[in-house]
């Protein structure tokens, strides 16, 4: 079965969909970057004496 040719509507929406996709990818990158910064700012987690003795 042959693929149907894209409707003109889909062509018109292509720019919008690509833009939204870009925004979502950027948002994921932003959250990832923030997580890295926040975690590295906290420094290493040192266990307490009680936790060590357990």
């Amino acid at each position: 079965m042959a693929f149907k040719e894209d409707h003109e509507l889909h062509k018109r929406r292509l720019g919008r969909n690509i833009g939204l996709g870009g925004v979502l990818v950027a948002f994921v990158a932003l959250v990832f970057g923030l997580t890295i910064v926040k975690v590295s700012e906290m420094g290493p987690i040192v266990p307490s004496q009680e936790e060590v003795s357990e």
Binding site: H7, L9, R13, G15, R16, L30, L34, V37
Partner: protein
């Protein structure tokens, strides 16, 4: 897809990605970004560059979201005013309910993300700013009082305070004075615009001072606010974020701004119409330079401090 459905989709102009960006009022956003960034960078607490980037981005998105809510509420008057007829809602590209949903979603997202990236005090401040612009200014004051610009101007004055709050987690005299600088600057800036955009506001029924009290009173108000603005601009120069560079710039800019306001105050409508509001347009243009230069000077002081110079 059936032909019937096709014809429905073909009826209205399709909103592109740019139309959603336009809902965020990018030009207003640029002022928000700049002043928030300066507020953040001049604060005495160092912040990780990536957190600075994210915080300013979320403040800008919050500001943009309030712009979308403003466009949703004001769609009826935007359709009347020449300057705003091409906005996405009056142009029929984005439906009002879509703009409302877009504004609300971005408001929530920006506040939560700023809270997670920086602190919840700054996030609360951003939420209050969005509420102030969308509800207090847009829904309440704009159509009910000629003082709309004065009180509504507070919304545009909050970003440097939010930036400061991102770094310090609170409020300081410096951030209050940065707020006052924009707050007192807003009325002369917009009233100068209203002087040469008279018919637009009149057609839309927005009670601008020029429409309700006349143009002579507006000229008086511009002068009074410009005179009241100068002490705040100069006071900022003697705080911890001021210094000789800022003070020199502030003195020059305020002398020129007051001189311009006196010039407008001396003019009457016959003079203004004779030269097509040249002085009013010039004053409006200079007001943009005035604000930009003050915040740039603050940034310069902060930059010099990192090299062991700057400040008093």
């Amino acid at each position: 897809m059936s032909d019937a459905t096709t014809s429905v989709f073909d009826q209205s102009p399709e909103a592109g990605f740019g139309d959603y960006v336009a809902l965020l009022k990018p030009r207003v956003m640029s002022l928000v970004v700049f002043t928030a960034l300066v507020g953040l960078l001049v604060a005495p607490v160092a912040v990780h560059p990536f957190v600075v980037f994210c915080s300013v981005l979320f403040i800008a998105i919050g500001g943009g979201a309030s712009g979308a809510l403003n466009m949703w509420w004001d769609a009826d008057i935007d359709a009347v005013m020449k300057r705003t007829q091409g906005r996405p809602i009056p142009a029929g590209k984005v439906s009002p309910s879509e703009a409302l949903g877009f504004g609300l979603a971005l408001s929530g997202l920006s506040v939560v993300m700023l809270g997670l990236a920086a602190n919840w005090f700054a996030a609360g401040f951003l939420a209050f700013t969005i509420f102030f612009y969308a509800v207090v200014y847009t829904m309440w004051l704009k159509r009910s009082t000629p003082q709309n610009i004065v009180i509504g101007g507070a919304a545009g004055a909050f970003p440097p305070m939010i930036g400061w709050a991102v770094a310090t987690g609170g409020i300081g005299i410096e951030s209050i004075l940065m707020f006052m600088l924009i707050f007192m600057w807003t009325p002369p800036h917009f009233w100068a615009l209203a002087l040469f955009m008279k018919s637009d506001y009149k057609d839309a029924g927005v009670p601008m001072l020029t429409v309700t009290h006349g143009r002579k009173v507006t000229r008086n108000h511009i002068l009074v606010y410009t005179l009241l603005l100068a002490p705040f601009a100069l006071a900022l120069g003697v705080t911890s974020i001021g210094g000789p560079v800022y003070m020199t710039a502030a003195v020059i800019l305020n002398v020129l701004f007051v001189k311009g306001a006196i010039g407008l105050w001396r003019r009457d409508e016959a003079m203004a119409e004779a030269d097509k509001y040249r002085a009013e347009k010039k004053f409006f243009g200079f007001s943009l330079v005035y604000l930009f230069a003050h915040f740039t000077a603050l940034l310069a002081e902060a930059g010099l401090k990192s090299f062991g110079m700057g400040g008093w």
